[in-house]
């Protein structure tokens, strides 16, 4: 009688009812939702009022008399700096600027304000620029040229496929956001779920529960049930995140708008996200099972886990280098290395197209390592799960791995 399903069911339900699991599953989407809400509220409070603003100016060149109405800003001429200062102090104008007589040769304008600021507001700068440009060019070039000078270009990039057709995913910084955030969550999920398996097995060994379990089921069934049960819980977690991505994107797009509404997810992103979670979890799970078997207690096992889970997060440390050259041979190599592949491939998918052959090799290497790891982990489990109190030395472990 195969009892794997009983262990699977117990581990799955036991895990998803844990507070830590519920918190980790719900907090990231809630944080994003909260972020959208906070953005809405803050942008509502801080958005500059759409009311008309008057800005004074003193024209010492003598050619800037027209185009004083720029969107919501009205430019009010003053004869002298003193008159403009008086108007500013009495709050008739919000600020003023002086176009000195040598402006044409220097391009320098002196601006006067009453409130400190980091940089001039974009709307004010644009209004002054357009006012200067329009007055300088009036009558010398057609009006359409003046418009072009004011807004010189809009760089519209199109990515083509190898055959010259327009690619489905056009890339861009905005499209990196979802894979970037997903990679961080994936790394967390891999570490969280595989170390939970490690803790669960070590605890069963330390509390001697293992002996009762092994008097009812075989080590193979026990390992399979635990790996699958905890993996299913992890998959549920990633599934919740993945299924909430479109909803959160819609919300963010309608709320924040702008570049978020241009986000396109690669078609295979969600599928690959699930595939890499499953494979990533499995590779870390088999290592965790082996480590739990040879460790005398939970603390030592967790100490070792803090070393071998580093590759799961390592790609995130080098994100800036990855953004610069996503197809560098180094990243290709680490996309194939099984412990870094899951997170790295997800990150690269956000930056660039990952060729199918790289995906195929990466997945094949992961699968091969998982199968090999399972054989070795069950050998360690059989040899060491009931050996308490001392950690076997390396030579002994290697001998047991070799002999089975």
């Amino acid at each position: 009688m195969n009892k794997t399903h009983l262990i699977f069911r117990h581990e799955f339900w036991h895990t998803i009812k844990r507070t830590g699991f519920v918190v980790l599953t719900l907090v990231p989407p809630l944080v994003i939702l909260l972020g959208i809400g906070v953005y809405d509220v803050i942008s509502g409070i801080t958005k500059p009022p759409a009311e008309a603003t008057e800005i004074g100016y003193v024209d010492e060149v003598g050619i800037f008399g027209r185009f004083t109405s720029q969107e919501e800003i009205t430019l009010v001429p003053f004869d002298s700096g003193e008159a403009a200062t008086e108007a500013l102090v009495s709050e008739d104008i919000k600020e003023y600027f002086v176009i000195p007589s040598d402006f044409i040769s220097t391009g320098t304008i002196d601006r006067y304000i009453t409130q400190r600021e980091l940089a001039p507001p974009a709307a004010t700068t644009a209004a002054i620029e357009n006012f200067i440009d329009s007055n300088l060019l009036e009558g010398k070039v057609p009006e359409t040229v003046i418009t072009r000078v004011e807004a010189p270009l809009n760089l519209d990039t199109t990515t083509l496929t190898a055959t010259g057709e327009v690619a489905k995913q056009q890339g861009g910084m905005a499209n990196f956001i979802v894979p970037g955030v997903f990679s961080v969550l994936l790394a967390l999920a891999l570490i969280f779920n595989s170390t939970y398996l490690l803790r669960s097995l070590s605890e069963e060994k330390e509390t001697r529960m293992m002996e009762i379990l092994l008097s009812s089921v075989s080590p193979r069934q026990l390992l399979a049930g635990k790996v699958l049960g905890l993996g299913a819980a992890g998959l549920l977690q990633v599934g919740v995140w993945v299924s909430l991505i479109p909803l959160l994107l819609n919300l963010a797009s309608s709320s924040i708008g702008g570049f978020i509404s241009t986000i396109q997810l690669p078609a295979n992103f969600l599928i690959l996200g699930i595939v890499y979670f499953i494979l990533g979890y499995a590779i870390f799970a088999v290592v965790s099972a082996g480590v739990a078997a040879i460790s005398p207690n939970v603390r030592e096992a967790q100490g070792i886990a803090s070393i071998y889970t580093v590759p799961a997060v390592a790609p995130l440390w080098f994100m800036s280098l990855l953004l610069l050259a996503p197809n560098s041979p180094v990243w290709v190599a680490f996309s194939i290395f099984p412990f870094t592949a899951p997170v790295l491939v997800m990150l690269r998918l956000g930056v660039t197209g990952v060729p199918a052959w790289q995906l195929a090799i990466s997945i094949a290497v992961l699968v091969a390592c998982i199968i090999g790891g399972l054989v070795l982990a069950s050998r360690l489990l059989r040899a060491y799960m009931l050996m308490y109190g001392k950690r076997p030395n390396l030579g002994e472990i290697v001998r047991n791995l070799r002999n089975g």
Binding site: M1, L6, R208, M209, E211, I212, S216, V217, L386
Partner: protein, 298 residues
């Protein structure tokens, strides 16, 4: 058909032989005592019987068949080192472990309620294991061991850490299992419990069998040629007695071999003594244990 039949099993770890060509068997309805000093190979032997580890050589038949995953449902095991899922409630623990023994949920719930009530633990069924005392946890483990009504029950040091009331309760339940025809392996250091409960014993030392057989036969094999007498007065010189050893409340008379204990009793009665106690001196199992194991360690 014996409940358990073990033939020449051997188990080694690294280069150390832990169990060395051990053979034994016992029947249904018997309590089989497995005794020996620490590190003698008792737990390793039990783990091999339970199919938790495989012997390097020899074979084991349990309930008439080679152990398989299906046979495990007919066995109950209380290991020496105990532990349960600390965060799980009593009832969830019992039901989960019962399900691993092939029990359906409804019968398992019914039986769990019965056993919890029987052991006075029913009102603790919703508590987490970590809220229980050590002794209570041990009772829960005993319930888990027998909930599926196993045909073979293996108890490794079942009385350690129990108070006298719970020890008596456990003994009562073990004897009840024997009466219901279950085969029981009892591994313990408490020789008085073995003497009280076991029908047959196997004493192991350094992985090898030191003593094996019916407990009464073993004890009579080790009996000394002396009698214990508690009488109202000094027995004086008695024929057939070579030595008198005075103890508190009784005298041990060492016989010279020319007379049987019956004849010595007749002599004592004939001498006009009122006899309160007269018995053939047999060594306790503890003495036999010390003699047998001590001999090997000399």
């Amino acid at each position: 058909m014996p409940a358990v039949e073990v033939n020449h099993i051997v188990k080694s770890y690294a280069d150390r032989v832990v169990v060395d060509r051990l053979s034994f068997s016992f029947d249904q309805g018997e309590i089989f005592g497995l005794i020996g000093p620490n590190g003698a190979g008792k737990t390793t032997t039990i783990r091999m019987v339970m199919d938790i580890i495989k012997p390097d050589a020899g074979d084991i038949t349990v309930l008439g068949e080679r152990l398989s995953e299906d046979t495990k449902n007919r066995l109950g095991y209380l290991p020496e080192e105990r532990g349960l899922y600390r965060k799980l409630t009593v009832i969830d623990t019992v039901l989960y472990l019962a399900s691993l023994k092939g029990m359906e949920r409804y019968p398992a719930e019914e039986r769990a309620d019965y056993l919890l009530k029987r052991t006075g633990m029913l009102h603790h069924k919703g508590k987490k294991i970590e809220e229980l005392s050590r002794g209570m946890g041990q009772i829960i483990q005993f319930i888990v061991t027998i909930i599926h009504d196993p045909e073979l029950v293996v108890l490794d040091e079942p009385f350690g850490g129990l108070d006298p009331v719970n020890t008596e309760l456990l003994k009562e339940m073990i004897v009840e299992l024997r009466h219901r025809g279950k085969a029981i392996i009892l591994s313990t250091h408490q020789m008085n419990q073995v003497e009280e409960l076991c029908d047959r014993i196997l004493m192991v030392d350094d992985g090898r069998a030191v003593l094996y057989g019916n407990l009464e036969e073993i004890k009579s094999r080790y009996k000394s040629n002396s009698v214990i007498v508690s009488a109202g007065g000094d027995p004086g010189q008695i024929r057939g007695v070579s030595e008198k050893r005075a103890h508190r409340g009784y005298v041990e008379l060492v016989l010279d071999g020319s007379m049987t204990p019956d004849q010595v009793l007749k002599e004592l009665v004939g001498a006009g003594l009122s006899i309160n106690r007269f018995e053939v001196a047999t060594p306790s199992l503890n003495e036999i244990f010390l003699r047998s194991v001590g001999k090997n360690h000399e």
